[in-house]
């Protein structure tokens, strides 16, 4: 029972941090509130016996903060105050209320908090197989790493590709000049696009 109370406390703080991140007008404090949310989530992982995730979440949160602060503080961004159009907010609040009703009704049908469907007795699910045969089949003592690199290694290949694509995309977007100037040698007829305004004045 204490676990649920502890979790409720941490998650409550997380929701508060999220609300601060959403509602504050200064962008930098919004980013810092997001950082706080990330660390609360990492604490939640620790409570839920997921040490791997806690380490990764903390360090990834640090990196997200560095990346986001890099985009905000350098610009001396002015606070973009003034609400979005009132109609949008009202519509969003109504939608939120509907989501609240539906989710409360639906979540009751999920298995209760302590008894996951995956580990239910007799449920022929892969999770039970991994816990039973993890050590002998893969030799790895850390079952999460065993799943990531051996049972579901194909997922991690996709995962490595996601990081690689994002980094390659970021460098492609952030390169200095995207179109070659007309005088640069290119084979074949080359007519620069007429509406192409130069990158910088």
């Amino acid at each position: 029972m204490t676990i649920v109370l502890l979790l409720a406390f941490v998650l409550g703080l997380a929701v508060m941090a999220a609300l601060v991140a959403v509602e504050t007008t200064d962008t930098l404090s919004a980013v810092i509130a997001l950082g706080a949310l990330g660390f609360f989530v990492s604490t939640g992982f620790l409570i839920l016996c997921a040490p791997d995730l806690a380490i990764t979440q903390v360090v990834v949160e640090v990196l997200t903060l560095v990346v986001l602060i890099r985009a905000t503080i350098a610009r001396g961004v002015k606070t973009i105050s003034g609400g979005g159009e009132l109609f949008g907010r009202a519509l969003a609040l109504v939608a939120l209320f509907i989501v609240f009703l539906v989710s409360y009704e639906v979540l009751k049908q999920l298995p209760p908090f302590g008894e996951p469907a995956a580990l239910a007795a007799g449920a022929g699910t892969p999770s039970v197989f991994y816990l039973l045969h993890g050590l002998e089949r893969t030799g790895a003592a850390n079952y999460v790493t065993a799943i990531i690199l051996d049972f579901r290694g194909y997922d991690t290949l996709g995962e490595a590709t996601v990081i690689f694509t994002a980094v390659l995309g970021a460098t492609a977007i952030l390169r200095r000049r995207a179109h070659k100037r007309a005088e640069e040698p290119t084979r074949g007829p080359f007519i620069p696009r007429t509406e192409l305004e130069e990158d910088s004045p």
């Binding site: 001396g76 893969t138 790493t145 051996d150 290694g153 290949l157 994002a166 460098t171």
Partner: protein, 219 residues
């Protein structure tokens, strides 16, 4: 980005070695204790980023060029793809082709440690590359170009280093077209004389573009 005070710089130089060591530990013991390729890789990336933040991008630039980070990123990815393809040796794609060894030892999980190393290398190189690339462009946007005529600061042409990593022939050819250029990434900088040591007040005094002026300045 001129880097932080000397105290921070010296402390960083010492701590960075321990951070990277901890990252390597987390990678190597990924299949025994909590952690793994991802967590260790991100820790190492944070180590390098800490160095770049503390020593300032130019100092860090000279030692770890971004082009190398791009190469290491691709090498890490190829290593992991190779571990996957080596699985064919044991019959099926991604199979654990090495023996299992006895448990709780570092060699214990066959190809899992190899996968951890490859993922750790890849994640650290690519995340360092992202933050480096983001900071490179931002700095360039503010610094007036040393080579061209003096222009108002905000509308400075985004000099920045040409096409940041592995741009290949276009970079070389564009570099030739854009006048003399040092080897490596950083475009010709004013000598590290008065520009570097401008008083901090100067940086704060120059007001960044407000909404109205920003528009006017932009066009």
């Amino acid at each position: 980005m001129k880097g932080m005070s000397p105290i921070v710089q010296t402390v960083t130089r010492w701590i960075r070695a321990f951070i990277v060591l901890f990252g390597i530990y987390v990678i190597c013991y990924g299949h025994i204790s909590p952690g793994g390729g991802f967590a260790g890789g991100v820790v190492i990336a944070c180590g390098f980023i800490l160095l770049m933040l503390a020593l300032g991008r130019e100092a860090c630039e000279r030692r770890y060029s971004i082009r190398w980070a791009g190469k290491l990123d691709a090498v890490g990815a190829l290593a992991f793809a190779a571990v996957a393809l080596l699985g064919f040796a044991a019959g099926l794609y991604f199979q654990n082709f090495l023996g299992r060894g006895e448990s709780f030892q570092i060699r214990s999980a066959g190809s899992i440690p190899l996968g951890n190393f490859a993922i750790g290398l890849k994640v650290s190189a690519s995340l360092f590359l992202v933050v480096a690339v983001l900071s490179v462009l931002r700095v360039a946007a503010r610094r007036p170009p040393a080579t061209e005529a003096v222009k108002p600061a905000e509308t400075a042409e985004t000099v920045g280093p040409e096409d940041v990593p592995a741009a290949g022939p276009e970079a070389a050819e564009a570099a030739a077209a854009a006048g003399a250029r040092q080897v490596g990434i950083a475009p010709p900088r004013a000598p590290v004389g008065e520009d570097e040591r401008l008083p901090r007040a100067w940086a704060r005094k120059r007001r960044l573009p407000t909404r109205r002026r920003g528009l006017g300045g932009r066009r």
